[in-house]
Symmetry: D3
């Protein structure tokens, strides 16, 4: 019996209280398009896929939500189409929304599904058009087919979860006339977490977490509340691309999601570290009334 | 009371025996990429979508399977990539299979899903990668990532049907290592019909039906059997692109699908005409032992 | 392809939104004894039966309620018993209630069941005595065994509907001592619709609908509300045998039935015309708060 | 504590092994029209109804099947119609079958249903026309609408039993064209027992049981087998109206019903005496291979 | 037919309304350790077991709760350990609680299970430690491991009842650290009855019932209410070992149990006499608002 | 991020294929009475309990079976009763079987249940008397109430497993008259594994595994088959107390249990080491036809 073996047993046993705590709980994970891009994307994806399968096998009900900004830009580039942004949002004409749909549903989504399914027939790709999952509305006519979430019908996700599948959601929405819209994936993740009454909403990002002082790497916020986050946005400390994530965390927690997390997706197994250690990693958002001791 | 109204009532009443006959039956419909291409594609798609929703509402369980050859060629063209065919099959390198996947799953599939869902939250898009639906194997190493069907795991379709959704299947398969393959959609439709124990397998094509004499437009075959079709293939009367369809009809009927049909998808509402009239349209394949009178 | 065929397809497609609207909805239809009497009764019954089977096959849950006044009078006549009416209600001694029961349960009910079941094993006859469906109480001691509805226990109907049968209800009730009562079928239909939470309550009558001026055939009321109907009764415009029907419409809509209809059962397929056209036929009663556009 | 009370407890306890033995078992009881006729009919019916409710409450699944010969004759008589018999079978013209149907379904059936339902909402009346229960075929064209059983579809009975109702069956059958037939109730009881895989088929008759010597009241047969009964019929010892009962006993036991009984329905609580005592009463038919000790 | 047989039938029929009234109802029966002790214990237990099986077979859902004081004392005596009581409660050190657990779970419980299971595979023994049934808390540190009920998790009982087993409960509880406690069985019976929403809570004791004057054997209280019982306790009329029983009756009725009973378990079949006669036996406690006529 | 954390993640990920392999599988574990005895018994039990809870939380369905020989001897000793053995089997008079029952069901069983339930409401103690689990028969009249397994009715275990409980089985059996028997726990474990169609049967013993040469500690047998084990018994290499274990392994594998294991229960977390490493520990028995590579 090598020491490694008994060590392995010890670590499994240490995981027991975490497994018990999250058994049967729905956990929505936003996986960023950035994480998939670049040469190391495949390895990172495989590690992520393993974590998600492990979550499922120990009894959690993970739902993966993803975007794909860099991949959309890349295909537009190959097709000779110039991306145009206004206030950080992509101006989306009819051709662009077709490209976005093609990339999100036809490239990024199956890439994630396939990485998970190397472990078994677990994942099923879903777009916001499937079963009326995401009803979209125009966000700003000047931006074209950029949508806001008008309504979420989570029944297709609930059925897939009941059948023990892992849904992987591409964040394309559709309006009543069948027109597709590109919707911010961070926002969709929060809406889905709220609609499913999830236990947790986890953003895998490329930052370490939120900071109280953007310049000071020692100012990482470990725990915070929706009210405090509102304050940080008002003060301009949270800004730019973080705003949709943080807004979604605020909304989700206010609508009953127990914990929202902003983690550093560049750390290998960040998901497991968050779920299976007491300290957790990154920034956790919880309701003020809810003591943050546990989890 | 206008005469139109009472006429409407009469026609509904005439549909009654057909509705009764197919209630609860699974009907696999192969919808061709050709039908979607071109300027009139949208209208045709809307008519098709209406037919499928009607089938579902009167109690059938339709499954739509689609390809997308012309759309793949078009995107390759826009990306400056030369399609290359060998014996009528597209040589598919890694980049091409990515393009095919993007087009089938991310363009054609949501187009069909969206046309159906204008009527309600019915359709859910599925690729062969979802829930391990289509396990692929290499067809011919010289063709690259062109696959044959190694195995069908219909459970994701069965669950969606049980939940009263309409599955729309993009014919991409995946091997054990997560590598995607482009697979002939006609073949996939037949395999799925057999795996689901379907009542009918219907090919919507751009021909009127099979002919016993390819030159003679009066030689349309109304009813035939697997054995007779084998004979026609041996004689070279059935040839070229029709072969995968006809082979799939033969296999499906031999594996228990009660009827296989080759219809002219250019006729509006061809599906309804087949399902709701005694004469039917196009060519029907049935087991010899099974009297062909009914249906 | 004859033009008739494509026309048939068009009409089926036009029925689609109506089928969708009523899928899974319970629809209580009162079928009058008058409709069954006379030489043309059989043909009318066959048309009615077809309509009911079609409703069931496209996903509605029809419940048929019937009376049988003319048939009761006829048998009394053959048995040499003089019918006696007081204020339009049949004075019902012990012998008369036995005759009524025999006619309603043993003659009219199986006639309807049998006409429906020519199409399949759909209909099951039920009397108010079965499973305690209709608990009766004395209406007026001077009338003998004429009952009012004391209580409806819809569980036998709910079970039959859940098992996908079409219940056909003979309107005989029973008190706690097992004594049978003859109860007005219009009243029973309304009580059952309310107890089942039906979507619609439809009276097939031998008038075209309600009129605001009884003399003026152009004064047909297309849509009205319970309050307006109360007013018409108070004004004496609605009178006589129409009162139980109209009272039942008022009560049913007030207790949550979404629409009540008074149709001309002499029009062939009046049921289908009401259900599958936008204009509808006859008079519709709806809650004031409930916009009447959609139906 | 009076001695009566403890005696009551003792007797309940003695019933325990019988209750256990028949828990969940289907028991088909044929109740004769004779039993209902005459002035004492009501009392006898009430006793019978109590027995059936008790069977149901201690966990058995009773099904009651009844005829109504005397009642049919009586109504024919009142309507001035002469009954005509040929070989003991009633010649049944169209008018007669209507009368039979009216009496069986509309008079006798609700009489039994109502007697049972004084104890609760247990009984549901069913005719052979309901849910396609009894498909009839012509027995002998000279007899008119006298039917044989062509087929039994027990699903309506199975559903009612699963819903814990007590089905009461009027023995009218129907052919594919919706034509009603009068069918011998003894025969129907046997067919239904076989179709339901009943544990017991019990005939309540007005004889004490079968005799091996028709003249000798001491020759009561307590137990016998299908083969021995065939012999007694061949010898003419069993004859006349007993033949359909005995034939049905033979057939039912051969098709898997565990016991068939011919009891004296004139004995109060004959059903309970048979079910709750070791000796039983009347004549029991069992398969030869099946030791007759138990039950 | 002997008169005994028809008498048996009559008595069964008289039981019918009681069977109907309690069908599907949960009945918690506290069976005392005293009843099991002594030479006649076995016979009494067999009679009790028969009653419980009969209750189950006629559709009730009995739950048996037992203590075992005399048996605990006996084993302590054999092991040379002196029982020590303080205010009528056993001082329970670590060794004593182990002895109590051994006797209750390992001796008394299987004795009852085994007596019931002679009739079939009905009973399943359960202790308060199983599935977290009884969470205990310290009652008084001076008494050692004597517990009060902190919480009841009835799910293990609900599952066993749903599976049609008869649970037999040994009244040992456990705290969060896995420490066992001896808990008063009368108290546990009341808590379980309340947690299960039982219809009845029945104490089988060795007294005839409660008396309004302890000296006067004619002062048996037949019916009373929680308020009146509080008064009797305040007046000292109810005292000593009866207090936990009476307190539990009061609490259970206040928490929704419909009737609580204190019966004389020495009367054979006391359970059946209470359940199957109108007078009942012993003392019944009911809510004042709830008319006590019907029981 | 300490290295310990990422190491923890790695080890969890390595466990993934094992978790997947055993998800939903029933695993019967025999836990010896020896393991519980002595001062270190409690710690060992806590480690064992943790392992069992972990098995359950990652989706396995563990069943624990235990004996308690040393504890029985100890109580006999305290009660001044001399244990008497014949051929290694305890002679069991009426008093002894009562003591054995008390110890197994009332002492050892709740000790294990309680150790597991510190982690949650998982375990439910069951004896062979509950729900007719183990029907016993006399093994040898000279041994008194020592039983063999006559029959196993696993329904109580199946129900508890379906309700996601962990059954803990005390190996007392009962005959048709309610007489209890002491039965060898090793034998019971094998019978239960076979009756449940378990994936694995694991014996936790106080030896390292089986040896091919009893003197040579290097002769540990890693894998073997029923036939080879028969040979080793015939040769006397397997002898004494190991025989019931080994016989049970042979029988269980022959009756369809996929793997039987003899492990050293003294190694901490031996269960996890067996389940979560490729090498496994101790001796594994498998069917010859079944390649032993996997597992």
């Amino acid at each position: 019996m090598t020491s490694t073996h008994s060590q392995r047993a010890e670590i499994l046993v240490e995981a027991l209280p975490y497994i018990r705590r999250f058994a049967g709980k729905t956990i929505v994970v936003k996986y960023g398009g950035n994480a998939l891009a670049g040469t190391s994307g495949d390895d990172a994806l495989n590690v992520f896929a393993t974590d998600v399968v492990l979550m499922r096998l120990v009894g959690m009900r993970p739902v993966v939500v993803h975007g794909g900004g860099p991949q959309i830009s890349e295909l537009m580039d190959r097709l000779g189409k110039q991306p145009e942004f206004r206030d950080g949002l992509r101006v989306t004409d009819a051709e662009t929304v077709d490209i976005a749909r093609m990339v999100l549903i036809g490239q990024v989504n199956p890439q994630i599904v396939s990485a998970i399914n190397v472990h078994g027939d677990y994942a099923v790709g879903v777009s916001g058009e499937d079963g009326g999952l995401i009803r979209a509305k125009v966000r700003d006519p000047q931006l074209g087919f950029v949508g806001d979430v008008a309504d979420v019908n989570p029944s297709v996700l609930e059925r897939l979860l009941a059948d023990e599948f892992i849904p992987v959601v591409a964040t394309v929405g559709v309006d009543d006339h069948g027109q597709a819209y590109n919707i911010n994936a961070d926002t969709v993740a929060g809406e889905i977490a709220a609609a499913l009454g999830a236990e947790k909403l986890i953003y895998l990002t490329d930052i370490e977490g939120l900071r109280s002082n953007i310049e000071d790497s020692n100012s990482l916020i470990r725990q915070t509340t929706p009210d405090d986050l509102e304050e940080l946005i008002a003060q301009g400390i949270i800004a730019g691309g973080m705003i949709p994530k943080v807004r979604s965390c605020i909304d989700a927690v206010r609508r009953g999601v127990r914990r929202a997390h902003i983690l550093d997706g560049r750390t290998p197994h960040a998901l497991l570290l968050e779920l299976f250690t007491d300290d957790g990693v990154g920034t956790m958002v919880h309701d003020r009334a809810d003591g943050a001791k546990e989890d």
